[in-house]
Symmetry: C2
Subunit: 315 residues, 2 copies
Amino acid sequence: MQNRLTIKDIARLSGVGKSTVSRVLNNESGVSERTRERIEAVMLQHGFSPSRSARAMRGQSDKVVAIIVTRLDSLSENLAVQTMLPAFYERGYDPIMIESQFSPALVEEHLGMLSRRNIDGVVLFGFTGITDAMLAPWQPTLVLLARDASGFASVCYDDEGAIQTLMQRLYDQGHRHISYLGVPHSDVTTGKRRHEAYLAFCKKRKINPVAALPGLAMKQGYDNVARVMNSDTTALLCATDTLAIGASKYLQEQRIDTVQLASVGNTPLMKFLHPEIITVDPGYAEAGSRAAQQLIEQINGHAEPRQIVIPARLA
Amino acid sequence: MQNRLTIKDIARLSGVGKSTVSRVLNNESGVSERTRERIEAVMLQHGFSPSRSARAMRGQSDKVVAIIVTRLDSLSENLAVQTMLPAFYERGYDPIMIESQFSPALVEEHLGMLSRRNIDGVVLFGFTGITDAMLAPWQPTLVLLARDASGFASVCYDDEGAIQTLMQRLYDQGHRHISYLGVPHSDVTTGKRRHEAYLAFCKKRKINPVAALPGLAMKQGYDNVARVMNSDTTALLCATDTLAIGASKYLQEQRIDTVQLASVGNTPLMKFLHPEIITVDPGYAEAGSRAAQQLIEQINGHAEPRQIVIPARLA
DNA sequence: CTGTTAGCGCATTCAC
DNA sequence: GTGAATGCGCTAACAG
């Protein structure tokens, strides 16, 4: 742990100067094939790896990024992070994890801390209350997830497409009385966009919209199904799988098995508990790797911030 | 981001030498109260914070630890990590996250990477296949979670106590035919210990043990309930809440509501889906903060590796 | 193509 | 008590 070798040692061991070793390390051109190979052999043989702190101090980045999730146990965010981690490690970045718990104040606090620590970049899972102002300092090296903001890089889900796909599917199955369980409009993507997509479809197809927007929690789904159900209702669309799980539990308890459920988000839990529910995969996995890739490119100056939308597809 | 001040700047701004600033930074003695206050004022005013990389290079630790979870979506591990993160941040450590996916090879690979990277310490959620040999190099700065190994620091759950508490509770309720759904013995803690605790209780109370040990997954619970149920069975004890959720689904589908379920692990999902199930809280939250605390003490040489057992208590 | 030199920001002697 | 000098491991000029 303590007596690690340095480029100086490698240089001595392979009979060259430090800078040549450095050049090899950084894949710079201007080193003869012969010496390069020799040095690489020595490095490999001794299991050498350069000190990150030293490189970092020399102005390079320390190759550390932060992932700020809302909650560690968010089913959807988990799926995205699951693909993000390998993507970062593959490129030599260490991802540190932070839980925002939906608190803008906590995010602000952590962002401050991160800038003091000279972190390279941030992936932030957006939620209600995050303001452009608090993100501004990070604009060049920030990727927002599940939410967009003009001027910032973002990876979003196709909320309209997801809802429309599900509605169309229900409609094709013959359903004409489709209720909706969603999230308040203060949440722009999961809340407003999905709800409006529902309303738009209803209008187009002359369906009478029946909706409630309680929130994101399972219990809120459970508690509010009754409000959107009437004797005509044959199908219920949920904005998230979490809501759908809550709603399912209620319907199950009430022994109501004549209502077709549908929801955005096919997480493993959902697939296990309720394979009968029609779901759309918003592309969590793809979102994760795309976000990591985009952030790395921004850090290296290879890409400008841009908005990415992941296409939704029927599961 | 680029023009951060250095101790040199702070020194100049407060009219002292660099070393004095350094002393203040490290809370060293030998600085007059007056100058200390002045320097601290200047630092505060300019929002100065020392470069981590520079300190790290000077032989200090980089104050980065790794948390290796088995799966990002493990309900129990989430609860532990949730308390771990704040504990680390509080002490100035950045926690990087890694997912082992129950693969010893992956763990080995990552541990290698971590040592090359000069990480300060590791919290590892144990599972079948991890060998002492691969952990040995990390012995001084490793904390094993949910599993113990002699010579290594660990934070474990009280498997015997948890099972015994649940069995006693069921017994007190009058149950005399209690089946068990668990995990293979290759998993020493969740598998072997819990199963043996079940058997021990059965023996003591002259209960006829009926058990199956399929594994950790919900589906395995679902698929194997039938094997441990007979006409006498009045209660079913599950080694984990995940198994219990699987089992519940099966029982629900079969419209069997005469069997009392019990399980180790009262996660939020469990409490929502099946509040009727009797659960024991193994102390995930406490385990997380204790693990973080123990690791930090080991890193700073304030504590030797030791085994910590978290007491279980009825939820 | 390759070696030499000079710092990066900080902690640590060692003088004063 | 305090400041000046030294070097951590590395990259970036600049020489050869």
